[in-house]
């Protein structure tokens, strides 16, 4: 089975994040593979272990993203592809990334494409569905279990806490949800071997795309950090007093009543 994982390098939202000149300060941030994409990589490796074939990871970005691609190779992916957009002069957004990925994926053989449910940096979850639509293949989002038998694919997906079972056929694009698996740590020998695995860099203009084709359709207006959380307040007194004060506060302070 030929499996392609589309993955994104993101900053680690568990780490300290600061904003400089209206953008995330990349110098300060720690970068990781988007955690939802890690589920995708893990599942692709599991599917390959079961059905044979090959796992290829693809990302759109600049040279810096090689580190995350190497991590995916160390986890067990067979090949990596970096679509380098360093020299692109126009703004890129989810639409642009989906266009770029699609024009690459069109030239590839695959049975399944796996991606994360969303990226933890902007949380939009747009790229993968756009790609599926553009490629005109089946799409199942937020999957928590997947089984493949021949062409038939049985999937359990998370629908806001409930489970929905879906049957579909290859080729399919799935987006992976927490709970699907537990991504492995790259093994230490895996890390040593990863550097010998192929990592191909493709320039975006080798993809038969013009800058105007990928020009962003959305515009980011402002970027700001969430307000710092202030300490909670513990109400004192007996139950009745507390209830009274709570109602009062809900009315006057938080104005929800």
């Amino acid at each position: 089975m030929d499996l392609i994982v589309i993955m994104k390098r993101t900053f680690d939202t568990e780490d300290r994040i600061s904003i400089k000149n209206g953008l995330i300060d990349e110098e300060e941030a720690e970068f990781i593979i988007n955690p939802y994409d890690e589920y995708a990589i893990e599942e692709a490796i599991l599917l390959r272990e079961k059905h044979g074939g090959e796992v290829k990871v693809v990302t759109v970005g600049d040279e810096e993203a090689e580190k995350e691609l190497r991590t995916a190779l160390a986890m067990g992916a067979d090949k990596a592809v970096l679509i380098d957009t360093e020299d692109v002069d126009v703004e890129l957004d989810h639409f642009s990334i989906a266009e770029i990925l699609t024009s690459y994926l069109k030239t590839q053989d695959f049975d399944m494409i796996l991606g994360g449910n969303l990226a933890i940096d902007d949380g939009s979850g747009q790229v993968a569905p756009r790609v599926a639509r553009k490629l005109d293949i089946n799409l199942v989002t937020t999957i928590t279990k997947i089984e493949v038998e021949g062409d038939k694919v049985t999937i359990e997906r998370d629908v806001e806490g409930d489970v929905e079972t879906v049957e579909t056929t290859l080729p399919v694009l799935v987006t992976c949800q927490q709970g699907l698996n537990e991504p492995r740590y790259p093994s230490l020998p895996g890390i040593m071997k990863a550097k010998k695995k192929p990592l191909e860099t493709i320039d975006y203009d080798d993809l038969d795309l013009e800058e105007e084709d990928i020009q962003a359709k959305s515009k980011s207006v402002e970027l700001y950090l969430p307000p710092e959380r202030t300490a909670g307040r513990v109400l004192k007194g007996d139950m009745e007093e507390q209830a009274k004060e709570l109602v009062e506060l809900l009315k006057t302070k938080s104005k929800v009543l």
Binding site: R184, Y185, L188, P189, M192
Partner: protein
């Protein structure tokens, strides 16, 4: 002079850092209470290849030099020291004997399984009569046909209860003193071999040390490790090799203590200010950081010398000594800056304080390291 780590090592280091932070740290309290490391952590560590840290690539290990190993040990040292010791004893004194002195058959037979962690290693020199006076062994090995028959006992042997492969020192020629000692590879299933009771200890919970008994224990001659009569030299080499690694583990623990202390002193307020604004507290942190930085430089310097093939008897002894004394000092100050909570078991600081204590004793006491250093100095100056 270049102090940077290559990309591979940085990658490996990052990976281990994440692993111990996410998978081992959350179980530290459980390890402490049950005196046992959860199987899942051990299984994951094996899968990750941590057990092959010091084994050459051709035998399924990582095949990295001493600088690389130290960089990784530093990360392993940041978590529960019982876990650190399990990994450290296996990848250090438990395997390097076979790596450095084993013949091709022995390496092929043992190392791949040891790299995968299917077989765990231990090192057995110490006996009731032979602690610092390590040549005063009573365990004997007598040749009988194509076997050696071992009789005697060992104590305080780290990993004894989990190990499959032991590097054991025994007397083959009582007349020759230190030159009458031979090292053997003993498997736990050899007839006449038995592991005794687990010792209760001040710290290092989860790492089990126990007695070993040899009662007419049969060891095939092909399991002689290195040359007959070279056992003591082998033991010294194995221990010397382990020293930079132990220092690196201590370095990791020191760094972790600084990380935890810095967080604490910024948060904890007394007299209406974070306590780091009290100079006495700030200065303790300055000293902790300085000691740790000196240890870092020294560790990688000695590791680099090992990788260059230089002789490091004196330097390794200095580093072992310095590393454990620094760890003890840093742990002591970490308790002090934490105040009461530093002494309370619900919080990890006191655990590091107890765990630091053993590093001045095992793998050669601080006093013995000073004997080695001064002995080497005398040799140097006699020339």
């Amino acid at each position: 002079m270049d102090f940077s780590l290559n990309e591979d090592i940085q990658f490996l280091k990052r990976n281990i850092r994440e692993f111990v932070k996410n998978e081992v740290d959350p179980f530290a309290m459980e390890i402490e209470e049950k005196d046992e490391i959860p199987h899942k952590i051990i299984a994951m560590s094996k899968e990750m290849g941590l057990f092959g840290l010091s084994i050459p690539e051709e035998y399924g290990g990582l095949g990295i030099g001493m600088v690389g190993k130290c960089a990784l040990y530093e990360e392993v040292g940041k978590t529960h020291n019982g876990y650190t010791t399990l990994i450290g004893a296996h990848t250090g004194i438990g395997t390097v004997g076979i790596v450095d002195m084993g013949n091709e058959e022995q390496k092929k037979k043992y190392l791949p399984a040891m790299a995968r962690g299917e077989k765990i290693g231990a090192f057995a020199l110490t006996e009731p009569s032979a602690g610092s006076h390590a040549t005063n062994l009573k365990t004997t090995a007598v040749r009988q046909g194509d076997k050696f028959i071992l009789n005697g006992s060992k104590h305080y042997i780290t990993n004894a209860t989990v190990a499959d492969v032991f590097t054991v020192m025994a007397i083959t020629n009582p007349e020759k003193g230190a030159k009458g000692i031979t090292s053997f590879i003993v498997e736990k299933d050899f007839p006449g071999f038995k592991v005794g009771a687990v010792e209760k200890k001040m710290g290092l919970k989860g790492s089990q040390s126990a007695e070993l008994f040899f009662e007419d224990c049969e060891v095939p001659i092909e399991n002689v490790l290195g040359e007959e009569g070279q056992g003591y030299v082998n033991a010294l080499k194995i221990l010397a090799n382990g020293r930079a690694g132990l220092a690196a583990r201590n370095l990791g623990s020191c760094q972790k203590l600084i990380d935890m202390s810095m967080e604490f002193v910024e948060e904890r307020k007394q007299f209406n200010v974070p306590i780091i604004e009290h100079q006495a507290v700030a200065h303790m942190l300055a000293e902790m950081a300085m000691d740790t930085e000196a240890l870092r430089s020294f560790t990688y310097r000695v590791a680099w010398m090992v990788d260059q093939g230089q002789k490091v008897i004196k330097e390794a002894a200095m580093l072992k000594l310095f590393g454990s004394e620094v760890y003890q000092r840093v742990a002591d100050k970490a308790v002090q800056v934490h105040g009461g909570i530093g002494y309370i078991s619900e919080y990890p600081i006191e655990r590091y304080f107890r765990d630091a204590r053993i590093t001045r004793i095992y793998e050669g006491t601080s006093e013995i390291q000073k004997n080695i250093i001064s002995g080497q100095l005398r040799k140097e100056y006699k020339k």
